[in-house]
């Protein structure tokens, strides 16, 4: 029996700097940055007062006033992306057996915005440890359990197959798409809506990253604050957003003549078992995730034409990751194009892994590599080709995307251009 593989047939993106996959790609290829002063709340008392925010208009995403009232911003993003991806793939969902449709959504911090807003209301602005139960809104329980995001998506696409939310911090997006591809390859589903969403630009999330000095305090120059691999970098820039992909079993997608962006060929995750936020400089566990993903994809490391880096713009990440790429790709590490789109759209925690896979699918489609914006003074310890500042046209058949996050989790995924019909 031929092994079942998952292909990407639809993309929906809600990212800073432009809503929709087209606007997202335009931003990336222009090398524009979407980082700016925080407008979503009054950040004046905070160390980092900048973020990459989405100019999201819920009405444009077709959300009714009732839905806007009930759904956290993160669920609104997920629903908007789902709608876009479903339209993009041109699959007739109504004609697909519901029990063969699955959903896997990733999110690092779930409905944190509404949870915090509601807490402010029910606790008298944080005065009362015992909140007033009568003040809470009816959807409060849906905010407590982030699985509500996946449930909302599942209702939109009529899924009755396996549905789950995966929350592995900053690798949530990669892990969700990896899990979605697994559901297809093992035969649990034929179609999977897979992606991730996070909307963390709120006082509590900003405060907790302030507390560990993880985010950039470059408040005077927000457009140049996200500087992965640049020697002047001073932390990541918090972001929000979502991306949702339609994954289909390859043969059935080809049979219906779907327009395929690419194949998900290999995925692996490993953990460093070292520290919740710290990374050892040798990149050993990320290198192992990359090695296994390549092995599962049955490609040669030398065939990789583009590495979508985690590239968060913290010193320890950039060095850890550079070491991992060298360790896993050997000499090819110095030849391959590596870039971090977080330089433009910031770090949207769990969502970014899915946004980056959307970018990888568009790289395979358009054969253009987005740059690492703001990379002007390279860190001497980071000596790979990070595609500084300007996008690059390049023939690319195989792409590697990596993610790294709190908890010590390291994930890697290999995508390829669609192969000819067999």
């Amino acid at each position: 029996m031929r092994a079942r593989t998952a292909v990407i047939t639809g993309i929906g993106v809600t990212a800073p700097g432009g809503v929709g996959a087209k606007a997202f790609w335009d931003l990336l290829t222009a090398g524009r940055t979407a980082t700016r002063p925080i407008s979503l709340f009054d950040a004046s008392g905070f160390r980092s007062r900048i973020a990459a925010e989405c100019d999201f208009v819920a009405e444009h995403a077709g959300l009714s006033a009732t839905e806007q009232g009930r759904l956290d911003r993160v669920s609104q993003f997920a629903v908007a992306c789902t709608r876009e991806a479903m339209a993009d793939c041109a699959l007739d969902f109504g004609a697909s057996p519901p029990e063969r449709i699955g959903v896997v959504i990733g999110s690092a911090v779930g409905c944190t915005m509404r949870l915090e807003e509601q807490y402010v209301t029910v606790s008298g602005h944080g005065r009362d440890w015992l909140p007033d139960a009568g003040m809470g809104c009816p959807a409060l329980y849906e905010y407590l359990v982030p699985s509500s995001i996946a449930a909302e998506v599942a209702r939109r696409c009529g899924a009755a197959g396996p549905v789950s939310l995966i929350s592995t911090g900053c690798t949530s997006g990669l892990d969700s798409i990896g899990h979605g591809a697994q559901l297809i390859s093992e035969g649990s589903a034929d179609v999977v809506i897979a992606g991730a969403a996070d909307a963390p630009i709120s006082p509590i999330t900003s405060a907790c990253f302030d507390a560990i000095k993880a985010t950039s305090p470059n408040n005077d120059d927000p457009q140049h604050a996200s500087r992965p691999f640049d020697n002047r970098r001073d932390g990541f820039v918090l972001a929000e957003g979502a991306a949702v992909l339609v994954l289909e079993e390859a043969e059935s997608a080809r049979r219906r003549g779907a327009d395929i962006y690419g194949e998900i060929r290999g995925f692996a995750s490993r953990a460093n078992a070292f520290h919740m936020t710290g990374l050892r400089p040798d990149g050993r566990e990320m290198a192992e995730a990359i090695r296994v993903a390549i092995e599962r994809a049955r490609v040669n490391a030398d065939d990789i034409g583009y590495v979508n880096a985690h590239g968060s713009g913290t010193r320890q990440n950039d060095r850890h990751e550079t070491a991992a790429v060298k360790r896993s790709l050997g000499e090819h590490a110095y030849r391959v194009s590596v870039s971090s789109i977080k330089s433009m759209v910031g770090h949207s925690l769990g969502a970014i892994g899915a946004i980056e896979i959307a970018a990888c699918a568009l790289v395979l489609r358009h054969q253009v590599i987005p740059p690492t914006a703001n990379l002007e003074v390279p860190d001497p310890e980071c000596d790979l080709d990070y595609v500084p500042v300007t996008a690059r046209e390049l023939a690319v058949d195989v792409v590697l995307s990596v993610g790294s996050g709190f908890g010590g989790f390291q994930s890697a995924m290999i995508l390829t251009r669609p192969t000819a019909p067999r």
């Binding site: 690092a108 909140p131 007033d132 699985s147 009755a160």
Partner: protein, 405 residues
């Protein structure tokens, strides 16, 4: 050949017992752990009963530096992991580092820790938020801390589908065993008894407002009026059967089948997908319905949910065809910890050939055609158990455990 997944160790923290033997003795005797919430003054709230663990001292399991950086939910899991690894007797030094993973269930994260930090932020200012908020509150904290404490460098995961999460985590652990891992720490815990988390649960409309600890959570009963929450859960050690056999480990049972599904139209009064999920899990295990010796029900105690679960059981097995039980009435719904505790309970039931009762339930509602084990525990020869779990919003999952002898 695909590797098979066995459960070789368990660690239980339940309102009616810490450690699996204490829990099991209480459960067979019908002794519950439900009482007034004591972690805070809950007298002003309409639901004040819960399954509370009274004598858990994190310091007897964990170093102080780990206690200050974790929520109670993670502390439960870390303590249960230590118990489970000890119970499994696995020598971790002999397991290749990348073949040792962690997949836990999560539902609401580090509730009390998060509330405390948000409280500081809004009452005192952003600079009062502590450095550990970033690693204690989020849903991946437990998996990350277990991985770090025990050196698990293999694939790690966090599955979130409310009360169904636990079965999804075990299903994911089995996938890891089949593809790459030798040992996976799985299961889950929950600590839902902080003030804000309780207020959030009240909004679900599914909490019982009863003041009678013996009769507050009555699934399938004519008087069903919602559930009470409980804290704790179970951590299970999932291991490759061949490796477990080679080291002559005691195997509780094999994870023989698993499936998950979803009801896109919730509240419709019937659940077509649950019967299908159970059927898929049976097909996955390659066994007919008549081979199932006992069903551990999700047991929502919300009438329409009870009806739909009973209908699914009746559809798959026939009326009164298989014993059904829900000992969770003694501890409450533990959300991410609930299904792992049910699986652990099923393993002990198989081991000892006895089905624990659904304590407290008296007369079933009209029309139920299920054989609900009530009153005393029931002796039976047990080889295969089905565990059903459903998560708020439409999630459902089914898992089969089967003795390997």
């Amino acid at each position: 050949m695909t590797a098979r997944a066995a459960i070789t160790g368990m660690g239980i923290l339940a309102p009616n017992g810490i450690g699996h033997e204490a829990y099991w003795r209480a459960t067979l005797a019908g002794t519950g752990g439900i009482g007034e919430i004591t972690r805070f003054d809950a007298t002003q709230y309409p639901s004040r009963l819960a399954g509370v663990i009274h004598d858990f001292d994190p310091a007897s399991y964990l170093p102080s530096r780990l206690i200050v950086q974790t929520d109670l939910w993670s502390q439960f899991a870390l303590a249960a992991t230590a118990m489970a690894l000890d119970d499994a007797g696995v020598d971790l030094a002999s397991v290749p580092e990348f073949e040792f993973g962690v997949v836990t269930a999560s539902s609401s994260g580090g509730n009390e820790f998060g509330q405390r930090e948000i409280q500081k932020l809004w009452s005192r200012g952003p600079h009062f938020v502590g450095a550990y908020q970033s690693i204690a509150w989020f849903y991946a904290a437990t998996t990350g801390q277990i991985s770090i404490r025990h050196g698990a460098r293999g694939a790690c995961g966090v599955m979130v589908s409310e009360q169904a999460s636990g079965l999804d985590a075990l299903g994911q652990a089995r996938r890891a065993i089949r593809s790459e891992a030798r040992v996976v720490v799985s299961g889950g815990t929950e600590a839902p008894l902080s003030p804000y988390a309780l207020v959030c649960q009240l909004a679900s409309g599914r909490l019982s407002d009863s003041a009678d600890p013996e009769h507050c959570y009555l699934p399938f009963d004519a008087a069903a009026r919602g559930h009470v929450p409980g804290e704790g859960g179970a951590i299970l050690i999932v291991e490759d059967v061949a490796a477990a056999t080679a080291r002559e480990a005691r195997i509780y049972a094999e994870i023989a089948g698993y499936a998950a599904g979803f009801d896109p139209q919730p509240g419709g009064g019937h659940s077509p997908s649950l019967a299908r999920t159970i059927t898929l899990a049976l097909a996955d295990a390659g066994i007919p319905p008549q081979d199932v010796d006992v069903v551990f029900a999700d047991a929502a105690a919300v009438p329409w949910l009870d009806r739909s679960e009973a209908a699914a059981i009746e559809t798959v097995f026939g009326p009164h065809a298989v014993p059904v039980t829900a000992p969770k009435t003694m501890v409450g719904r533990l959300y991410a910890g609930g299904a792992p505790l049910d699986v652990a309970t099923a393993l002990l039931a198989i081991r000892d050939g006895v089905i624990p009762p659904t304590a407290g339930v008296g007369e079933l509602g009209d029309g139920y055609q299920i054989d609900l084990v009530r009153g005393d525990a029931r002796t039976a020869r047990l080889r295969t158990a089905l565990v059903i779990a459903r998560g708020f919003g439409g999630f459902n999952a089914a898992l089969l455990v089967r003795a390997t002898d």
